[in-house]
């Protein structure tokens, strides 16, 4: 049998097997008539290992044999195949986020003062982990509390060019639940302003913008 054929069979077997394959296991795929030596299989493995250079996968030898595996470098993207969504954020978190956006730079104590209740550390952690808020400085008072502000990622997520595109506090106070008017919003999301819906300029069309990559969960 030609070396190229041996290499292709070894390659396909390694990809098809559910576990790592040892040299004897690979040799067992061939019959006497194929006249395949262990050296030829070793050569195949060497060739395949080299062939992975510059690819998203690699051929490695582990304790129980050879296997193809996903390279570490691309793992963060591949891992999204098994991602799952967490449950919705609490009202407390949304209030905290909104206050940071509108009153930044603001300390946790100041947020608590407006909300009238404490802000749990986990809420701040979640917002920091999501990279929507960060510490921008410290207030020069006893305890030197951290001052929080919003980030560029926060603006990007809500498709805003700047915070000015958020409605003013005065406007927010007047909004009624069903029809939240948001003049600046239309400017922020030109795509959302469908020609068929002229009132899109004045109504919130955010959901379509804010959740684009949440709709296709590969898991």
């Amino acid at each position: 049998m030609e070396q190229q054929d041996i290499t292709n069979i070894v390659e396909a077997a390694l990809f098809a097997a559910q576990q790592p394959l040892t040299l004897p296991m690979l040799a067992a795929l061939f019959q006497d008539a194929d006249e395949v030596s262990h050296e030829a299989i070793s050569r195949a493995l060497e060739g395949l290992t080299a062939g992975c250079a510059g690819h998203g996968i690699e051929l490695v030898e582990v304790a129980s044999g050879f296997r193809y595996q996903v390279r570490e470098a691309v793992h963060p993207w591949v891992a999204r195949l098994w991602s799952e969504r967490q449950t919705k954020y609490s009202r407390a978190l949304l209030e905290t986020l909104a206050l940071i956006a509108y009153r930044q730079p603001i300390t946790r104590g100041e947020i608590e003062q407006v909300r009238g209740v404490g802000v749990s550390t986990s809420i701040i952690h979640t917002l920091e982990e999501r990279e929507w808020v960060r510490i921008v400085g410290y207030r020069d008072v006893p305890g030197k509390p951290a001052l929080f502000g919003t980030t560029r990622q926060f603006l990007d997520y809500f498709n805003l060019k700047s915070l000015d595109q958020l409605p003013t506090l005065a406007e927010i106070r007047e909004i009624a639940d069903p029809q939240l008017t948001l003049a600046a919003d239309a400017a922020a999301t030109p795509d959302a302003a469908e020609p068929s819906a002229p009132d899109a300029e004045t109504t919130v069309t955010e959901p379509a913008v804010a959740t684009p990559r949440t709709t296709e969960d590969p898991a």
Binding site: G137, T168, L169
Partner: protein, 289 residues
């Protein structure tokens, strides 16, 4: 090819079907697998165990399949079946099965009745005036045979499609870390604003927080400036401005500096009139530790 003369010649006569003779077989196809061995032909002079014959019977997928076999074996055109001859062969086969005391599916007997009926109608003299109107008595059977045959063929075609497990398998690579990534939930801006409205209403009720109208870009810039001053060192006033932002950007930065000063978050220093102005955060991370 098939001609009518062939069809009436006893090329495939009934004795075929008598036990001890050559049993029905589909061209060169093995009739069945008995203990893994293909059975191409039943030994003529040997006793056939009943279960072997049963296997042969199972080689047919019902009466339509058996009829098709009888027709094809003699290279007959399906549109032109010699009903009398085919019926005789079919009956012989059924008879053999009976003789072997094999359980025969009811469908085989129903087909026998249909064939007998067609044969009798063909034998009846037709009134001349009705000749053109009356349908060929075989038409319905021919239609069913063709319909069955096309799906028999379709099944064979599907069987030849390259398929998983037999002709291919998926190729997969191991993923070292397969733990599930938790994606944060989506947030609707409107929801966040409604949350803020509620907070504001609560704050208004408690009465000690008055929220004025102000450009939010100034608030945003305040954070940005604070971060730049986060090292605790003095920064030149001019270095905080980004000329590329234009006049509006300069105004926003200036207003943010005033706000920061008013809020005692920064110190502004000038050693002498017209000298360089320096700014510094009043508190930094290091100082906080």
């Amino acid at each position: 090819m098939s001609t009518d003369t062939q069809s009436i010649e006893p090329v495939a006569p009934a004795p075929d079907l008598v036990p001890g003779h050559v049993a029905p077989q589909q061209a060169e196809i093995p009739l069945a697998l008995v203990r893994g061995q293909p059975v191409l032909q039943i030994p003529q002079d040997l006793y056939i165990p009943p279960d072997a014959l049963e296997v042969i019977l199972e080689a047919f997928e019902g009466p339509l399949d058996l009829l098709l076999y009888l027709i094809r074996r003699q290279n007959l055109d399906i549109l032109d079946i010699p009903v009398a001859e085919i019926t005789r062969q079919y009956m012989d086969y059924i008879g053999t099965m009976h003789a072997m005391r094999l359980e025969l599916a009811a469908e085989y007997l129903v087909m026998a009745a249909i064939l007998a009926e067609i044969k009798s109608r063909l034998l009846l003299p037709r009134p001349p005036q009705e000749e053109s109107i009356e349908e060929d008595p075989r038409a319905e059977l021919v239609r069913r045979l063709q319909e069955y045959e096309r799906f028999k063929k379709a099944a064979e075609d599907i069987d030849t499609l390259p398929r998983m497990e037999r002709d291919t398998d998926t190729a997969q690579a191991f993923v070292p870390d397969r733990k599930i990534v938790k994606l944060p939930p989506p947030v609707d801006l409107r929801e966040m604003l409604l949350a803020l409205r509620d907070v504001l209403q609560r704050a208004d009720l408690s009465g000690h927080h008055n929220v004025e109208r102000e450009p939010l870009s100034v608030r945003q810039r305040m954070g940005e400036v604070l971060r730049r001053l986060g090292d605790g060192a003095f920064h030149r006033f001019e270095s905080l401005f980004e000329p590329a932002e234009g006049r509006l950007g300069v105004v926003v930065t200036f207003l943010s500096l005033l706000e920061l000063a008013k809020d005692s978050l920064i110190e502004i220093m000038q050693e002498a009139p017209l000298a360089a102005i320096y700014l510094k955060a009043r508190a930094t991370a290091n100082a906080a530790d």
